[in-house]
């Protein structure tokens, strides 16, 4: 019988059970790493380091998890905080150069090419816009859930999504009249 997240958390808290925590990591690693890969603009190595830090922080503060939100939402919030700390500690990233990252004219209706262009366009967004779009579209969260993870007012989430979509619409315009695979 598969134990629920709550059961595993209880085991970790009561017995410092590393196996139980390992099971939690196995269950959620893909989503947390995917979120961080998007937030870092596709830097898989950095994303995985941040994901590792996320789970370590989660382990240390598991006693503070009250269960009023889903465990995954709580993890996403830690992941976002870890990402934010890393951004603050890092040097400011180079400004996006549209001439370098210009979205090419779509040569074919290839979904892979489209996703590559979406990834490139996502890098054009600022960190806040990328975070809002990623949470609401990649993880499928509602605006309210995203606001909880980001610890922003709901209006800020909506504003960032609107501005992000405006930019993305412009960058991805060449794909608009092509049928999606």
């Amino acid at each position: 019988m598969e134990l629920s997240d709550s059961d595993l958390i209880a085991r970790v808290l009561l017995r410092e059970d590393h196996h139980a925590f390992g099971e939690l990591v196995k269950r959620h690693q893909s989503n947390v790493r995917a979120l961080l890969r998007k937030l870092t603009g596709g830097n898989d190595t950095r994303a995985d380091e941040l994901a590792q830090d996320t789970f370590l922080r989660a382990y240390r503060s598991l006693g503070k998890f009250r269960g009023d939100a889903k465990f995954s939402t709580w993890l996403y919030r830690i992941a976002y905080n870890v990402f934010q700390s890393d951004v603050r500690a890092a040097k400011p990233s180079e400004p996006f150069d549209e001439s370098v990252h210009a979205v090419p004219q779509p040569p074919a209706t290839d979904a892979v090419d489209l996703q590559e262009d979406v990834a490139t366009a996502m890098r054009a967004l600022n960190d806040n816009e990328r975070a809002a779009i990623t949470l609401c579209y990649t993880t499928g969260m509602t605006h309210e859930e995203a606001a909880e993870v980001l610890q922003w007012p709901l209006g800020t989430v909506k504003t960032n999504i609107l501005t992000a979509k405006k930019k993305l619409r412009r960058y991805l315009a060449p794909w608009k009249d092509r049928p999606l695979a």
Binding site: E16, H18, F21, G22, V25, K26, Q29, S30, N31, R33, A34, R37, D48, A51, Q52, F55, L56, Y59, R60, L114, Q115, V118, I133, Y137, T138, G140, K165, L168, R169, L172, W175, K176, L180
Partner: protein
């Protein structure tokens, strides 16, 4: 103007299928960084040991000891009965070892 179909198109593009990322040793790396378990469970072997000693004491007090036991009880060092103390210490040691190995 024509904002809704524009939004639908972009929404469809952004809602890409989530792809599962293989663990590929990630969980093992996380577990390797976890802090070691705190060594605060010394109380368990102590309780087991004390309970064992109490059991021995009760057994000696309620059953008529055999001659050998009588003699061994007579071996003392400055008034300390050697055999019961040695047995008690040995049992305590075994209990502690068993309890700590289990963790």
């Amino acid at each position: 103007m024509n904002q809704q179909p524009d939004n639908d198109w972009l929404d469809n593009v952004l809602k890409d299928e989530p792809r599962y990322i293989d663990d590929d040793g990630f969980t093992a790396r996380v577990l390797a960084t976890l802090p070691a378990k705190r060594q605060r469970r010394w109380i368990r072997p102590v309780i087991i040991g004390l309970a064992s000693l109490a059991g021995i004491a009760i057994a000696f007090s309620v059953s008529p000891p055999a001659e050998l036991v009588k003699q061994s009880l007579a071996w003392t060092y400055y008034g300390i009965p050697l055999v019961p103390v040695a047995l008690g210490l040995a049992l305590l040691g075994v209990s502690i070892k068993a309890a700590t190995d289990e963790q």
